[in-house]
Subunit: 115 residues, 2 copies
């Protein structure tokens, strides 16, 4: 057996066909998680500690776990850093139009709050 | 002051412009609440005890409260019965396409489960 270079258990991700609608809706029902999703829509991936959110590290870690387990984001580890990416294509395949429609709804809300 | 015929406090409903996206997503993230919404999409209103859901009355009461306070449904009382209706037009005005897209996503999931 080859020597493993992995120091932590592999990160669990649901397969595209296993993505659950209720998990996705729950994941999107929180402002911090919505911010993470919006940031990730604009770039291919991002290191976990660099998101513009103001929550404690343990809380943020929980939010990333909810997002990953729902199928909204994928995560990978490299050189002691964890990178996140939006599973936009998987989501679109699984639930066509859902992510765009929810984000458009959030854009309306965000526009109101800055008026 | 006219004598009130109301025996309980008036049921609170958010105004259309106050409907919160996170509240709506949270309300839709539960299978029982999703069933209630789907039933109400097909008829103008329905008495609360007549929905095809298998949960305890206190749990059901909580689900209706979450749905009403999110703005997804309206409720009115008449002759000791409480009737619920989907606020489809208000939702469409507030977040265009959102309810239809979520319900279409749920239709896909429901179709899988009966295959």
């Amino acid at each position: 057996m080859p020597r493993s270079t992995r120091r932590r258990p592999a990160l669990a991700h649901p397969a595209t066909e296993e993505i659950d609608l209720f998990d996705v809706l729950h994941a999107l029902s929180d402002p911090t998680r919505m911010t993470i999703v919006r940031v990730l829509r604009a770039e291919p991936e991002r290191a976990c500690g660099t998101f513009p959110v103001d929550v404690a590290p343990s809380t943020l870690s929980h939010h990333f776990k909810v997002l990953r387990e729902s199928g909204l984001i994928s995560q990978r580890e490299e050189a002691n850093r964890r990178f996140s990416a939006l599973r936009a294509a998987d989501l679109e395949h699984r639930f066509p139009g859902l992510l765009d429609t929810v984000l458009a709804a959030h854009d309306r809300t965000a526009a109101e709050n800055t008026e």
